[in-house]
């Protein structure tokens, strides 16, 4: 059902956890639908120095969170805002059709965290 890449990120997810005093936090989804993603950013000079996530959700939700955090780490916030769910799906070598919405969630969580950072910093 899932690609090897998905299973790899699901089995050994990167960047799991929280960041104390994060510069930006984004939370999307809700438990009612079975998926919540929460992303924490540490940002310096508009560059994402560190990123962590916590996710409640299916295998695809965990894998997309993991790879999305890898994809934006070290990027500028403008670059990170370019992240699309399509790019996430491709990076995972595909997702089953009914799981595409997990990748949308990952894109939205990243954006929400950056928005939060911008708001806090009046950008």
């Amino acid at each position: 059902m899932y690609s090897e890449k998905v299973m790899d990120h699901f089995t050994a997810p990167r960047n799991v956890g929280e960041i104390d005093n994060a510069d930006g936090i984004g939370e999307v989804g809700n438990a009612k639908c079975g998926d919540i993603m929460k992303i924490y950013l540490k940002i310096e000079d508009d560059v994402i120095e560190d990123v962590k996530f916590k996710t409640f959700g299916c295998g695809a939700a965990i894998a997309t969170s993991s790879i999305a955090t890898e994809m934006i780490k070290g990027k500028t916030i403008d670059e990170a805002l370019q992240l699309t769910n399509k790019a996430v799906v491709e990076a995972l070598d595909g997702l089953p059709p009914q799981k595409i919405h997990c990748s949308v969630l990952a894109e939205e969580a990243v954006k929400a965290a950056i928005e939060d950072y911008k708001k806090k910093n009046n950008k």
């Binding site: 009612k32 916590k54 996710t55 299916c58 009914q98």
Partner: protein, 389 residues
């Protein structure tokens, strides 16, 4: 790493075919392969095999052989009952009573009948998944033509008070159907004593083959046919008989019902160990279903703060096969209608795990699950934004 361990704990989804069952089937594929409708010896040999299997099924249920009709499985049997009784008894009424926790084979057919103008009452269940007989009585109207209530639930294992329901239905002269797909081989069934008019079953749930089931129809029941064509099954269900499947079903039901007590004793012992162990070792856990009136092989838990599929995948990587909700609904995004019907919130319902035991399981399997499961739950919880430790 215990890579090669494979522990199957999903016997309510399906079971493997027992060796003894398969052995009876084998010659039917290659030697006694005649069409039972044929006049010649190949055909007559096949017909004898079908008749023998029909007798075995009848015996297991306390029915007469002529009351047993073979189908392609539990789903077809359920579809047949609901449509067949509804269409045949239009003149008597248009109301059907069922429950909120039936299998989709029943629910989706009821929804179709609603579109066609029938009225359907979906009885609610309590937090254990049990219907109330008072609710049932109160929902009966002059228009009620059928009560269809499952014998045992496929997800949480709750067993309904079938005999009492049968009595109520009989008193009110309303047909009573029970979907016994999960019950056969696990509980003792006697259709006459329990006043059951129709009963669905499916071979692959009790170590028989897939793609074969049966519908018991009490003599004299008014029901139209579902599948039309040749005159097989005494003109009630068309299509060349699946003779190997029928033979396998016959053998499997005999094996499954002949020593049900000793079989259940073993299952109950393992289940107790499993449930006690899980409840003790894993906090924030709920046991779903009735504490006693449940299938002897069923354990169903909700682990708060985590989601079922990721739990299943982790268990699978450790060689443990379980399910979250029923096999049919996992893979969909909605939590199981059964878990919602017993009053769980969506959030909790998403974290369910069903482990269903079978003849091939051992105490060691349970030990292994109790070793592996707490770690996995803990790991997923530590990744969950909902879990604040």
């Amino acid at each position: 790493m215990k890579m090669n361990k494979r522990i199957y704990l999903d016997h309510s989804a399906t079971t493997g075919t027992k060796q003894e069952v398969l052995e009876e089937m084998l010659p039917v594929f290659t030697t006694n392969y005649g069409n039972p409708s044929s006049v010649h010896s190949f055909g007559r040999d096949a017909k004898k095999l079908v008749d023998q299997a029909r007798m075995r099924v009848a015996k297991a249920l306390g029915a007469l052989p002529e009351e047993i009709f073979f189908t392609a499985g539990g789903t077809e049997a359920d579809n047949w009952v609901l449509k067949g009784v509804a269409y045949a008894n239009k003149n008597k009424g248009n109301h059907i009573i069922t429950t909120a926790i039936e299998h989709h084979a029943v629910l989706h057919t009821c929804e179709q009948l609603e579109k066609e103008g029938y009225k359907v009452t979906y009885l609610p269940v309590d937090s254990y998944g049990m219907i109330s007989l008072e609710d049932l009585k109160a929902s009966i109207t002059d228009e009620t033509i059928l009560i269809s209530i499952m014998y045992a639930n496929n997800e949480i294992g709750t067993v309904q008070p079938i005999e009492e329901i049968g009595k109520i239905a009989r008193e009110r002269k309303i047909y009573f159907h029970t979907d016994a797909v999960q019950a056969v081989g696990n509980v003792k069934i006697d259709v006459k004593a329990q006043n059951i008019d129709m009963l669905s079953l499916s071979g692959h749930k009790f170590y028989g083959p897939k793609g074969i089931g049966a519908l018991y129809i009490r003599k004299g029941t008014k029901i139209l046919n579902l599948i039309l064509g040749g005159g097989q099954e005494r003109g009630r269900r068309a299509g060349t008989e699946n003779v190997p499947g029928i033979v396998g079903l016959g053998k499997a039901i005999e094996l499954a019902t002949e020593n049900i007590d000793s079989h259940n004793e073993k299952l109950l012992k393992m289940r107790k160990k499993l449930i006690d162990g899980v409840m003790e070792k894993i906090p924030y856990t709920r046991l779903n279903g009735h504490p006693e009136k449940r299938l002897p092989n069923n354990a169903n838990f909700c682990f708060q703060y985590i989601e079922g599929e990721s739990l299943l995948l982790n268990l699978d990587m450790k060689g443990i096969a379980g399910s979250s909700g029923s096999a049919c609904t996992s893979g969909s995004l909605d939590p199981s209608h059964v878990l919602l019907a017993i009053g769980l919130s969506h959030e909790i319902a998403h974290g369910s795990l069903r482990l269903t035991l079978g003849d091939d399981n051992t105490e060691e399997d349970i030990d292994y699950v109790l070793e592996v499961l707490p770690e996995i739950v803990q790991r997923l919880r530590s990744m969950s934004p909902l879990y604040e430790k």
